[in-house]
Subunit: 136 residues, 2 copies
DNA sequence: GGACATTTGTACGTATGTATC
DNA sequence: CGATACATACGTACAAATGTC
């Protein structure tokens, strides 16, 4: 399955394989990703390789890890519609630690924030996986 | 400086220290972050701990790593102003690999994308570190 | 509550590959 | 070509959180 001789790093090959399983529905939202130990046996690579592959998927926002429990495919939540006033400007970036805490972004989840400003003043900071901005 | 007995993991303490140096201007945009070896000596922790700290800062979009050269503090670019039409909706998420390639997001950089849709159809996908949406 | 197995998190060591200077 | 610097990948050990019996 994984080929150390390919140009692509092993952990990326593994991430590709798992991503494919998520996209094709073999791993469904909310379901558990096989444990690190299981993946070690399944793919014959070391723990670090597994962990880096899972870390890459976390960065893509596809999975979240929970200590003592396991890693699961993210279950998309219904999004709140947030109205953006005229004249506003919108940026997106990664949150600071303080923002993570305030917005309740789970440790291990990689979620951008949407920042709405009006006249240079911040009007709102939103976790990007829970809102959709509307311009109307 | 770093204290293994604190509740906070070493690599996060180190990330905090480096982030502080960036925010306070001791490490200026575009300047080099000390090399992994230098940081090993400076803080007395292992290479992996250093790398995880730097990885955390990359996830925050504060630094980028360049193989064979080093790690440097990101230099914020002037942002293109993109007008959003009435009725549009905007989401933000992490890019797919294909989008990364298309938008020219460097490997190792953690940059969200802004997705503008109108009537359910995608009108634009932008690298979040290079644009600001305006609604007027 | 306590004991235990499972699972992820953290942290160290070591070796090799690859790109830049 | 050599030195430097980051990337990948193996191994090991212990800590911390969770669930089960």
């Amino acid at each position: 399955m994984l080929d150390p001789h390919l140009d692509r790093p092993l952990f990326r090959q593994l991430a590709d394989a798992l991503r494919d399983q998520i996209i094709t529905g073999q791993l469904t939202p909310g379901s558990a990703v096989p444990s690190i130990k299981a993946l070690e046996h399944r793919y014959g690579v070391s723990r670090e390789t597994i962990r880096r592959a899972l870390a890459a998927l976390r960065v893509e926002g596809l999975v979240v890890a929970e200590r003592g429990y396991g890693t699961r495919v993210v279950d998309e939540q219904p999004r709140e519609q947030v109205k953006v006033p005229r004249g506003a400007r919108v940026r997106s970036r990664m949150p600071t630690e303080a923002e993570r805490a305030e917005l309740g972004i789970e440790p291990g989840a990689v979620v951008p924030v949407l920042v709405v400003t009006l006249g240079g003043r911040v009007r709102g900071v939103y976790a990007a996986d829970r809102v959709e901005l509307t311009f109307s």
